[in-house]
Symmetry: D2
Subunit: 432 residues, 4 copies
């Protein structure tokens, strides 16, 4: 057997982390991955996008979260060490996948991906397999190691047990972000007894299962997730900032494609305006670059781009009302027309945003949400899907909840120096 390229660090490295107290790194491979420029780039990409406009504490980055997912995975593997179904030779693969699972995220991913029609998961794959420092580090382990890491993250790896540690309905990813996002926003949701959950996780063939004695801690985790979705992730003010952000990207792209002359050429975005950009271009992007453009665009000629950027940077957000598009189909064309008459382009200033969440689901073959259900292992060794044992989980299982809101610039509508009649009519419709 040949000596592996990466061994153990001479002295363990530790990161001080508010959520897990310390993050411990003993493997040279992990240390090398953290040091790559593609991983360091995650320091310039916020974990929660525009949430910081609602919760000012939410300024933490994906760098932060990625280390956390690695650390939880490390602790899970400590529990698995020596147990049936688990082979320690899979340790570095699992840890690498945990650390890198979000490496493809770009600036304000949610809006960016939507407008430019891309997917951070594809970028993750390209970063791991392409001409990057990360790929170089991974290849030092073995020629097929980068592919294995990418497969685990994409859930196509043969050993499903490894995948389920990082993405299932109770995985290292979710356990980190719920706690971390709760910590940085300061909300009191997001707490559950992770130490207990780690103690009752067991490897079992192609998945991680939970000892039945830990069921209540899992219930608490699921409720925690439920609350975080509605109290933090789908907060209507955050969504307002998100709406404006998407419209900025959309406007800039549209202007560019229509031959508009920017005062300073937005070269960083060129390739994305025209289709899927190159890996190099993508890696050059981050939230600093993006905010730089938003700032200079505050002084652009185009009135819409300028206004949206001023709104975003100075937090002059759109207001919102409840608005279910399915039930208001008749109002919609009228509203659009009235906006146009009031000199407000409805493509930018009249936006419906719908958020929906499925707090927990048992397995439904062929459905979109492919995260595995949670299985309990009973004292007699039998396996039972969680919602069959837990009343609380059963109650919310499979119940999708959706929230529709209509966003618009109330300040413009209240300014009735012009188009008084249309604006009053709009406000009447919105208040229905």
């Amino acid at each position: 057997m040949t000596t592996p390229y990466y061994g153990q660090l001479e002295e363990e490295k530790v990161f001080k982390d508010p959520v897990h107290r310390y993050i411990h790194v003993r493997d040279e491979l992990i240390w090398a991955l953290i040091g790559t420029k593609e991983f360091q780039r995650l320091r310039r990409i916020r974990q929660l996008g525009t949430t910081y406009v609602t919760f000012h504490g939410a300024e933490h980055t994906r760098f932060n979260h990625s280390l956390g997912v690695y650390e939880i995975t490390r602790r899970i593997l400590d529990v698995f060490h020596g147990r049936p179904h688990w082979k320690d030779e899979d340790r570095l693969l699992t840890l690498s996948a945990a650390l890198l699972h979000d490496v493809g995220h770009g600036p304000f991913s949610h809006s960016f991906e939507k407008v430019f029609d891309m997917d951070h998961e594809e970028w993750t794959r390209e970063i791991i397999l392409g001409d990057t420092e990360i790929n170089e580090v991974l290849t030092n382990v073995s020629a097929d190691f980068p592919q294995a890491v990418a497969d685990v993250i994409e859930k196509t790896y043969s050993n499903k047990l490894i995948t389920s540690i990082i993405s299932s309905q109770i995985d290292a990813d979710r356990m980190d972000y719920l706690q971390r996002d709760a910590y940085y926003t300061g909300v009191s949701y997001g707490h559950f007894d992770m130490e207990r959950i780690l103690r009752v996780m067991r490897p079992m063939e192609d998945q991680v299962v939970i000892k039945q004695s830990g069921m209540h801690a899992v219930e608490d985790y699921i409720m925690s997730r439920y609350q975080m979705y509605w109290q933090v992730y789908f907060h209507p003010v955050t969504r307002s900032a998100e709406v404006i952000l998407s419209k900025i990207f959309k406007r800039a792209k549209e202007l560019h494609l229509n031959g508009y002359e920017f005062k300073q050429k937005p070269e960083h975005f060129y390739s994305f305006f025209h289709g899927k950009g190159s890996l190099d271009d993508y890696l050059r992007l981050d939230e600093a670059i993006t905010l730089y453009y938003f700032q200079i665009w505050q002084e652009e000629e185009d009135r819409i781009l300028r206004d949206l950027c001023v709104r975003f940077l100075n937090r002059r957000l759109f207001k919102y009302v409840e608005f279910d598009p399915n039930q208001r189909m008749n109002d919609w064309p009228e509203l659009q027309e009235l906006f146009r008459k009031a000199d407000l382009n409805p493509d930018y200033y009249l936006v419906v945003d719908s958020s929906s969440d499925l707090p927990y689901d048992f397995y439904r073959p062929g459905e979109e949400e492919e995260r595995l259900p949670i299985h309990l292992v009973l004292p007699n060794g039998k396996i039972r899907e969680l919602s069959r044992e837990s009343d609380v989980v059963e109650a919310i299982s499979g119940k999708k909840r959706t929230d529709h809101k209509l966003y618009f610039p109330l300040d413009c509508l209240e300014d009735v120096r012009e188009h008084k009649e249309e604006k009053e009519r709009i406000l009447r419709i919105l208040k229905k």
Copy 2:
């Protein structure tokens, strides 16, 4: 009496804050100030500069901290309400000064101010008194209100009691940042019983004093401050990033003054390269703008600028050794000479950084550090300076501690493909 321009908000606004749980705003004036673009700009300026390279949680901003100082001040004034020496008519002035005390900070202030020879306190004054949204809001209160706010922040206001709430050796500013920085970095220092301190604060002529029964909580606060300075604020890794940052600014300025042609003109910095910039230029700066330039400078022609930016962004920092310049005067010229021979410009690659802190001091007239000492009020009404009552504080009072470190690119010195002899000699001297 005329109706004031700003009254009470119809419904109290609250911010969720991880440190103080909630920040409460009831005054229209405060709400208007928070909404100004100059105050929103603080969202794009980190509270702890480069500390995030050492403590990845320290991504919080000055926006965050400014709200915290306001909130603590608000709670202090609730305690003062109705007590002798305190007049409620000074409430809005005190709250405004608390909220705005840091509004003049720029991107990575510490380095920026040093290289461009400026002072954020002057900028604070200009923002409050100049042609800004903040000035407009403050002027609505009364014509002389902006000046009063500026004077409180500059400590020249006639009523010293107000000043001492915001800047003394135990003030709303320090109480917020110690707790906040501890929270976001995750260190276990920085905790003290603020609720108790607030309960024992009393207004007394020209200063805030502390009831003697609260002395131990104050001791704890001072030790907390001491630990935060050495464990967080002066962390040698953070200082390494700070050193590189300063050298980037210095190099860019030097290149510009020498007529170097940048690939993209660094227009945002022009006025600062040439002297004190205008207020407009200053307000346009933030950390996104700065990081944008650092990123594009990674591809500049100039080898030094390029290298420093790559180091900063990808966290390839300088290493350090203990190095007291006063005791190593002889080594210094030799080291500089050897660096030059090894093709490493010592102006950029050989840097001594000295940090020093005075954890607490009684009053010494005429000295630079003008923060007021802490006074206790005894049950009999007499006033005693803290260090005369507390053994622990007496022990560290007036004792300045200094730490000197020499920073340099160890990686370059270890690469002995060229200048082997000089590099080995350098390493020998540094290891002395």
Copy 3:
């Protein structure tokens, strides 16, 4: 108007409290009540009875909890101050009732009340209305004040709003004990955002209602309560200690009534063995007295009493199996018979304990559980019962959950030096 007997304290008194940080007392009346011997007696009665055998941290007392309920009520009334439907003249009545609501608890109330067929609520009434220091203090307020306090606690007071602050499905009592019991046991359940709930509570005619914007915090509180019931309050090991405790009381009573001669006369229990004891006798009881007897009874002649006391004090508890008496009616007589044959008195050594909880319920007139449902007040002023707005609460609303366990001394059954056959048969039945 005459000057009231009790006014404000010259200086506010504070208690350091781990759960609420500080408990503030400004009213002389409250301070006087805390100082009575009947209230100080609560220091010698644990909040959670035998729970400390399972969670060793749960050694906190009813004194502790009673102060907490007072403090929460005080904070609620601060929110109510100045709002419609609330009259500040009811403040002292509400605070007194909050402080005294549990004053009738005796040692290990749960078992004690069951065996001696009494109710701590009756004792609370007698302590408030009888010849006690508490009654004396209350009477100083006015002749009818004690009766009013007793009526609020008994929920017969005319102003239902006051009652609902102290006993409804979201009241000061529950909010304190959930947090306090979680703190002292160390479990991670029991956390919810009480500060938020307090901010959204509103007085409304005959009840406290919750602003709709606080619904999620209330959901979290209800889930918290659910988890605490099953993870802490109904923990099977605690119930085992409770079973033994009940049997000790039962045995002592039975022996006494049968003329058994105790080595030391259990005079403290005499009146309870013979029926409802006097108030004086009841106030003399506490957990120290009870444990004193248990200790000396370890050396009694009677084998059963001796054994049960040794078990209780040295934590040699009964083991348990799932056992639904409704489904095992046939096994029961056989088990009893086998126990008798095995020389184990089934009245003491074969015990079914059933615990059940209704996590939340809407109103069902005439039913036993009379706590009021939780009502939300919508922005339009309309009132809606919580489960109609909350999916999660709806899911668990009205769903009673019951757990049946059979307790028995496994150690005796495993000791097969005698009655081998019967014991093996018993174990076979229990393992079914």
Copy 4:
């Protein structure tokens, strides 16, 4: 090699602990020790004696703390595992000594030991070596194992490294009680970064040393200890309760020795009234027994005993003034005389209590306080005593601080229906 009597538990046992989250037991030996009746007796002895009258949360027991010391020791040994100077064969000895180090404590030890002139350390020894369940369990390991455990606790064991884990100036005992007492009292002192300290502890010949990089965490620990002593352990109100408690024991003993007839014979104390009691008698004592007697003594004939018990149980404590006996030698005889004239026996009602603490000390051979100093190990392997490296510790090192208070029943002195003149004179002297 023979199979040891105790092995590993089939399934790890865990205790939920608020301070360390979980306490893990894997060794059958430890589990057996916890189950002994002498160890379970610690559940009936509070950790902080009378502190609960000041901090109502401080109701935790020595059982609680003993498990904590065991757990910290277990974690230290996990760090030591595999390092030079540490032999894993000493593991069970160290863990047993950690668990049992306080097993000799009796009810309200501090006062009890003083009045009856005994020492809980002697009792610890007797319990370990005498005819007890603990001795039986330990002897199963080997015949000389009990003696080894006793020696470690008494610091006479040959391997000083083991002793220093459990008693030095930074040991498992102190680290547990500081955190635990802070948790239960709710004070904000008592926090330090134990996880960091555990990470930097190293076995080194005959002591535990600390890596220099952990110095600041140790400084924080020492300051924490300093604050806990003066804010909690020496709180003047707690000392007032302690003074009364001592006087109860003293009075009861004196009465008994003078032939006084108690209504119920205090048989539990007989052997202690007459000298050192037997081990059996000692093990029968606990705080329930003690409080039982205090309660019935509230109805004794003797006025002093009755009064002191009423005061203790109903928290009607003595008041206090600063009073340095060394400087008030002249006042003392006069005060005693005046108390006698005012019909207040000064032996019981006029009490000076002096508390003193040495927050940290370097080694002074031959002195009473024999706890080892803390040594740092520098990166070069050299050892330095802590106060030589730390300014803060140096500042307080060796500085003993003493506080003298005079306790007396102010209520009696204010009741001037009799002895008006003497009482007024007393109050004048006390107010000097």
